[in-house]
Subunit: 430 residues, 2 copies
């Protein structure tokens, strides 16, 4: 493994939220896992580095999946005629209950990690299940894969089937501490993230304990927020003292700011129906939105007004949300983001302009990448995550420009077919 | 080529609009291009026929694409940030103008036909361009492919760039007659269909001539209808005497019924914004709706209320609408149909229930198949169109049922990856 090297090809990255920069026939330099920039002519100092010439292929930043459920991967694309709460009870929860069995977990997680490794995703924030051992197994497998991930042992002590629910808030908290102790110092690329499933799954007592654990260990947080109107009503019933859904997390120090006002990284998935007050709080607290368009459609949740969130200055990335979403393809998530934004414009509010393809590409790279630090671009100083796309399986009677090739590859989900090479933090995975 | 044979596998077809029948480990018999039914035990009379055992693979009816534009295939999945009228002017029309060049047309149409042949589509209704020679070339290629298709030389004598528009209504009508004469009796599987592009592209004089040609030759018709609010306003300006958009066709005998009231087969693509009066007329005239969910989303047109149309007794099938739609995959069209119907339910009208997967499968098989006669099923008496699906590239830790496998294959567009064999009217294509 040599992490000083040069790649040559057609290099593309987001110059800004609205513009994809394209450098045909150019060089991108990696030193110690960090990009040293893109060049039309290779500077002298880099000419002795090993060079891989990818010719006419596209070299893109690796893509970032801000929200996915590893244990739901086995049933992706099935049972899609259901709405959120019904789907949780009849599909997601029964499948997740199986991960008490480590043999099952090993088989399932191996398949998930194998697929994720072959995909365009280089970084991901992953929900496991409430099971400590299976979560550690998933972390071991992800570490070995070379991907960089946050992984969460899920917390859930109410409103779930008996075989999945944790026995009590105390048990849930204890298992979480044990998980954190057992995995501490064990990985280079795999980090724990505190993962209360969502408010309906967590008692007040559990949320309070999680707030304490978060504070003690300086952990990031991921959860679900304002996905579905029925769910939001339920949260209001369960937690009447909260001003709005997100406030139910914030009151316990699980929403981007600790009680002393210190910020910490937080991802909230969905945010389809966030109220103006919730949006303001997310902005104040620096909370990331994981926009999951496929899942929001599949579960009839609605369309998240991503343009509105971007205009409000929120930090937004994309989530595949397997298995509410049916595929791990972030190319698909990009085009889904464009598509649903057009329907939002047409059917809901014609003052909210659709997301362009360039903007969707930004969300999948720099947008979500910011959660991981300097990630999501090939510009100088970014961690060197890159994918090399071979679209030669698509024949054309005419020439396409590089931006057209990129857009087409995204619409046709070529990331699941045509990926030629992949690098994470300067390390080549294939 | 032996068109008496037996296939064995897991046989699925739509028993009704709402139910997929599944026959594990069963036989389906083909005699002279027609299905003789599905059997758990092979009747004695068929035991001498050659048998192909597809084991655990799924045997499905071939899928029917009621609306696609062959010349737009080269730029599918590009330029998707535009709305209908702008997209026509800047993408579709310039590309179509190239088909005056037969070398270009040959290269492009070969690629289209090759891809369509490898897809799950066994029957299609295809727009060519206004060019007679290139249209005949496309028909030659489709005939050789073994697919069964309707193909239309497009008519357009106004509101298009000079290099694409036909010089006059007379020229357009003359070229159409010539095209029909030149191709008469030339094909077994490839039939002409009258194809006025849409009202904004056709003068009253041209529509009148096309009505005459249709009547003389008893031709079917395909066109576009009520796709986009801006387009509908434009039609109202162009044709103020029409009661509604569809009436502009009907007045000229191009909308499912001739002046004497005799029915003929007609497909209208999109129908996103059809008024109640238009729906009533379509019902009276037996007009087929080609539902094109991907295109309606990509071009920000909206969501066609398919549930409403089905409840009103309209005949509905699916269209890929390449290249407003970005893919020829009808598996994708099925899941798009489900997905947009959920957003319609959530965002537009909660009295209009989403389409289920079983219903989308019905639309892609029997729904559109009815345009071709007894097509779209493996039940006895149907023309024998079948596809054999190999989903073994998807590994699972658990067993999936056949309906789950079918749904998953659709959500993951496995028709573009995993098709193992294909039969059209009893002839095996691969």
């Amino acid at each position: 493994m040599n992490d000083n090297f040069v790649l040559k090809g057609i290099v593309c990255y987001s110059r800004s939220q609205t513009e994809i920069a394209v450098f045909p026939d150019s060089y991108v330099v990696c030193e110690k896992g960090i990009s040293r920039g893109v060049y039309r002519t290779l500077p002298e100092g880099y000419q002795t580095l090993p060079l891989t010439d990818y010719g006419d292929k596209l070299i893109l930043p690796g893509l970032v999946d801000l929200h996915t459920h590893a244990p739901q991967y086995p049933f992706r694309g099935t049972g899609m005629d259901l709405e959120l709460v019904e789907w949780l009870q009849s599909r997601a929860f029964p499948e997740e209950a199986r991960y008490s069995n480590l043999d099952y977990a090993r088989t399932a997680y191996r398949q998930f990690v194998e697929r994720l490794t072959r995909s365009a995703t280089t970084r991901a924030c992953v929900f496991a299940t409430r099971h400590r051992e299976a979560t550690e197994l998933l972390m071991d497998l992800l570490e070995d894969s070379g991907l960089t991930t946050f992984v969460g042992k899920v917390n859930m002590d109410r409103n779930a089937p008996e075989d999945l629910q944790e026995e009590s808030a105390q048990v849930s908290a204890r298992e979480t501490r044990l998980w954190l102790e057992e995995t501490e110092g064990r990985y280079r690329r795999t980090r724990p993230i505190l993962t209360p499933r969502f408010i309906p799954s967590c008692t007040e007592e559990l949320l309070e304990s999680l707030g304490d654990i978060r504070q003690e260990r300086g952990l990031p947080v991921q959860s679900h927020l304002s996905e579905n109107p029925e769910e939001i009503r339920w949260v209001k019933e369960l937690c009447p003292q909260a001003e709005f859904y997100g406030d139910a997390y914030d009151r316990r120090g699980l929403f981007g700011r600790d009680p002393s006002g210190r910020p910490f990284p937080t991802i909230m998935a969905h945010c389809v129906w966030s109220s103006p007050e919730e949006v303001v709080r997310m902005k104040e607290n620096g909370v990331f939105v994981a926009h999951c368009p496929a899942s929001n459609t599949n579960l009839s949740s609605g369309i998240a007004p991503v343009r509105t969130y971007l205009d409000a200055g929120l930090r937004v990335g994309l989530g595949s949300d397997v298995a509410g979403g049916h595929t791990e393809s972030l190319f698909r998530a990009m085009t889904d983001a464009v598509q649903v934004s057009k329907l939002y414009w047409r059917l809901v509010d014609q003052t909210v302009k659709p997301i362009t393809f360039a903007e969707a590409f930004y969300l999948a790279t720099k947008g979500g990448g910011a959660f991981f630090g300097n990630v999501g671009s090939l510009e100088e100083g970014y961690e060197f995550d890159a994918i090399v796309l071979d679209d030669s399986s698509l024949s054309h009677p005419q020439a396409l420009t590089a931006p057209q090739r990129l857009e087409q590859a995204a619409y046709l989900s070529l990331d699941l077919l045509g990926l030629h090479a992949k690098y994470v933090a300067g390390r080549q995975l294939f």
